[in-house]
């Protein structure tokens, strides 16, 4: 019975947040200063309190039984939020239910922007304490608050209130956690965009304000009951709308200086389609200049091309063949939609496309436990550049592959360019935090996007394969694909993107982007 620090176990309630756990530590140890509590947890008082608390969080979970009923040192529901970018916000309650706050309770679910009503008390979840009018305190600020709702009053006040409180039903909280857990699980709720160039399945972030809309696609009876009980407004979006939903959440950062990269595919489908058309137009223009003749790019039906077609006397033009494959790979141009399985039985048998990077628009970066939204301009510029680069690589690949086929060699074909494997990232995104000394000023984030692969080709170095349009015409008539009309050339830059600007993204050169304070990233070099 030797106790040096009260845990406040009697105040523990199911699904409580770490914030609530810390707060009950204060409630149960009124005579101790925060520094004393940290000392009891073997945390030295050096550096900022946030830094200490980050240490304390791990220490706390080891030394003190956090969980209400199980032996799990850090319950799964806490892990869910810990792993999802809320960092030091764990020690604050940005939003809370006033009645829960009075009980000393807080649940991480209240952080979710789309949850407007407390699942327990059916009261509005607020950003300020209705009693004192101040923002909900961090756990250590609550020590100084005299407020009966958000402060740390001695035990009798809480008891007096808890007496009035009927048995708390955590059923709704449980269901909601299960729902989110499912969404967080890769095998759970995923948004299918039905859009060829995007990932066919789209992971849903439950911090997203539009999360209920995302999951609405999967509404079953259970979910319907939950959302009805919690008064969550759910409207089912169509695929197009879903693609256009761009989450804008920002979470407070932890103070890791390191980065991790992530490619996220989200943007407006229509704009991306236009970017593709623009890239196509510029490709056409460059090919015409390279070959010295007007070259009608022919879109071949890849399923119709047999092995013999590639090794025979009449072969397709490298440009058009590369273009046809490119068209398939980038996939969102009009009339596209090749079936992957069908292609496996045709020309794809001879091409190892795993070395090619399939361009995808990148609209956000996950770094330092935050999601940073790139501006549309950056996203489109990067995407345009990737499309061109993909075509250049493909052109080399196709011309070399055909030569290899025609030589009759049985060895595996190895292209001359050192394309990246699909496991590697097509970009390198470096992310760093310029930390301000004053907490009043937000830290500055610096994002640098590199194209560091020197062998990757660009439109400027588009290979002259010595093919000309006559070959294409011959081959087209050979295939008798009269229904495959050449695409209309398109060279106008209708999105207002300055081509010269785009080519500033030379290989090995940094791309740096200045952004205002409201959005990230911020680059200042």
């Amino acid at each position: 019975m030797n106790a040096s620090l009260n845990i406040g176990r009697s105040l523990a309630l199911p699904y409580e947040s770490q914030y609530a756990m810390w707060r009950r530590l204060l409630l149960a140890n009124q005579s101790l200063k925060i520094t004393d509590i940290l000392k009891h947890l073997s945390i030295k008082e050096t550096g900022s309190i946030e830094r200490n608390l980050n240490i304390a969080r791990s220490c706390f979970s080891r030394t003190v039984e956090l969980n209400y009923s199980t032996s799990n040192p850090l319950p799964a529901y806490l892990n869910l939020f810990t792993e999802n970018n809320i960092g030091s916000a764990l020690f604050a309650a940005e939003r809370n239910c006033p009645i829960c706050a009075k009980l000393g309770y807080h649940c991480d679910l209240y952080r979710l922007p789309w949850l407007k009503t407390c699942p327990i008390h059916h009261q509005p979840i607020t950003e300020k304490c209705p009693e004192c009018g101040k923002s909900w305190p961090t756990w250590y600020e609550s020590k100084k608050r005299k407020c009966r709702v958000c402060g740390t009053a001695p035990v009798d006040l809480h008891l007096e209130f808890r007496q009035l409180e009927p048995a708390i039903d955590f059923g709704s909280i449980h269901e909601l956690f299960q729902l989110i857990q499912s969404a967080n699980d890769n095998n759970g709720f995923l948004l299918s965009t039905h859009w060829p160039i995007l990932e066919p399945r789209y992971s849903v972030n439950f911090f997203d304000e539009n999360f209920p809309q995302y999951i609405s696609q999967y509404l079953n009876k259970n979910i319907k009951n939950i959302v009805r009980k919690l008064d969550i407004k759910v409207t089912k979006p169509n695929t197009w709308e879903a693609c256009q939903i761009i989450p804008t959440q920002e979470h407070k950062t932890s103070f890791s200086r390191h980065f991790k990269t992530s490619i996220s595919v989200r943007s407006s489908a229509e704009c991306i389609r236009k970017i593709k058309m623009e890239a196509l137009g510029d490709l056409w223009k460059t090919i015409s200049q390279t070959t010295g003749e007007p070259h009608e790019l022919t879109l071949y039906n890849l399923t119709a091309i047999k092995d013999a077609d590639l090794t025979g006397d009449i072969i397709p033009c490298d440009y058009c063949l590369a273009f046809s494959i490119w068209h398939h790979l980038v996939g969102s141009l009009p009339h596209s939609g090749y079936n992957q399985l069908v292609l496996r039985s045709s020309i794809y048998n001879h091409l190892d496309l795993s070395k090619l990077i399939i361009p995808k628009p990148m609209d956000s970066i996950i770094a330092d436990n935050r999601i940073f939204q790139l501006s549309e301009e950056v996203t489109f510029n990067l995407y345009y550049r990737d499309l061109v680069s993909c075509f250049s690589n493909l052109l080399i690949y196709v011309s070399e592959a055909i030569q290899h086929l025609r030589s009759g060699k049985t060895t595996n074909f190895t292209p001359s360019f050192s394309g990246q494997s699909s496991q590697q990232l097509e970009r390198e995104v470096y992310f760093s935090v310029k930390k301000n000394k004053s907490y009043a000023i937000d830290d500055q984030y610096i994002c640098e996007i590199f194209y560091g692969r020197p062998k990757k080709e660009s439109l400027e170095t588009l290979k002259n394969t010595n093919c000309n349009h006559i070959d294409c015409t011959k081959f087209k008539s050979y295939l008798n694909h009269k229904n495959l009309e050449p695409l209309v050339n398109k060279s106008s830059s209708h999105l207002g993107i300055d081509v010269e600007t785009i080519f500033k993204f030379q290989f090995g050169h940094n791309y740096q982007y200045h952004h205002n304070n409201d959005a990230l990233p911020i680059i200042n070099e």
Binding site: M1, N2, A3, S4, N6, I7, G8, R9, S10, A12, L27, A28, N29, Q30, S31, L32, K33, D36, H40, E65, P154, V155, D156, L159, R162, Q163
Partner: protein, 319 residues
């Protein structure tokens, strides 16, 4: 004496506070308190002469109480310190200190805060043990004022609101507690009486040959270090022990000497455990190893009882 050089310094016989002999009286106390707990009593008090072993008994028993289903009931032992001014805050403060709550450095302490922290200490124990009952032993109750007893009533009520039952068991010296007990029985203190003082038990020291024999038997059985070490008797009298000697064999002589030469003369109702243990320890650790078993007799026992302090305590008590 040579053997004693190898005896470890932390041997229980060198520090009587660590020596725990389970006497029949302690067993009886265990049964009584268990009965209180199982019948839902919210408190009781244990009275007895000074130095009969009430506190030691509580220390031995404190972590041994279980519910009807065998679940452990947590407990906390609080010894009331003597104070010039018997304030309520001093009780809260000392309760917190007894619970090892670090309040000494804190400046803004009031009774509410102290109550809060000690309340949470008890609640933590209840929840940690998944028990709906906690026992608080309050030793030296004669040092409490009537107003200070209210502290325990408040704690009891607070915990009751959270469906945790606090059983407060007071212990005190019988004669010195009379004044407090009389005050509690007054009409205006009925709420305290009803909570904690409706049931009582008398705790005595050794009163029979059988109890002496039982205690000496434990010297022959208990080992240090536990399980692997020699028995207490073997430790100090190794040669005699291996020749078949057991301390228990002296029980009749010890009891008859006490009964004939001290009990009647000094009107002793019981032989206080403190004096008994002290007497036996001197006998086992000093006299028998030094002079040998062959010299054992009434004269040696008189010396041991004299060294134990039994007689001065009685003279003081009588005078």
């Amino acid at each position: 004496m040579d053997q004693q050089h190898s005896i470890p310094d932390d041997h229980p016989l060198f520090s009587p506070l660590r020596l725990q002999l389970i006497t029949p009286e302690i067993e009886r106390l265990r049964e009584t308190i268990t009965q209180w707990l199982w019948t839902g009593a919210t408190g009781g008090y244990i009275e007895g002469e000074p130095r009969v072993g009430k506190t030691t008994a509580l220390k031995i028993l404190s972590d041994q109480f279980v519910t009807r289903t065998g679940a452990h009931i947590p407990s906390h032992l609080f010894t009331v310190p003597p104070r010039d001014k018997p304030t309520i805050q001093s009780i809260y403060r000392n309760l917190c200190i007894s619970a090892d709550i670090d309040i000494l450095q804190s400046t803004r302490i009031n009774s509410d805060i102290l109550l809060n922290d000690f309340y949470h200490f008890l609640m933590d124990q209840a929840f940690l043990n998944q028990s709906n009952r906690v026992i608080l032993f309050v030793d030296e109750m004669q040092r409490l004022s009537i107003s200070q007893i209210e502290v325990f009533a408040e704690l009891h009520d607070l915990m009751n609101q959270r469906d945790i039952s606090l059983t407060v068991i007071f212990t005190g010296n019988d004669t010195e507690s009379e004044k407090l007990l009389t005050a509690i029985e007054e009409r205006q203190r009925r709420h305290i009486h009803a909570r904690f003082f409706e049931q009582s038990v008398k705790f005595r020291g050794i009163t029979s040959y059988r109890e002496v024999s039982n205690c000496l038997k434990q010297y022959d059985k208990k080992r240090f270090p536990e399980k692997e070490g020699p028995t207490y008797t073997e430790c100090f009298l190794p040669k005699e022990y291996h020749e078949g000697f057991r301390l228990q064999q002296l029980a009749r002589d010890i009891w008859s000497t006490y009964k004939e030469d001290y009990q009647a003369q000094y009107h002793l109702k019981t032989w206080g455990m403190k004096y008994f243990v002290s007497c036996i320890n001197v006998l086992l650790m000093d006299y028998l190893p030094r002079h040998g078993l062959s010299v054992f007799g009434k004269e040696m026992l008189h010396e041991c009882i004299k060294v134990s302090g039994l007689i001065p305590s009685r003279i003081q008590a009588v005078s």
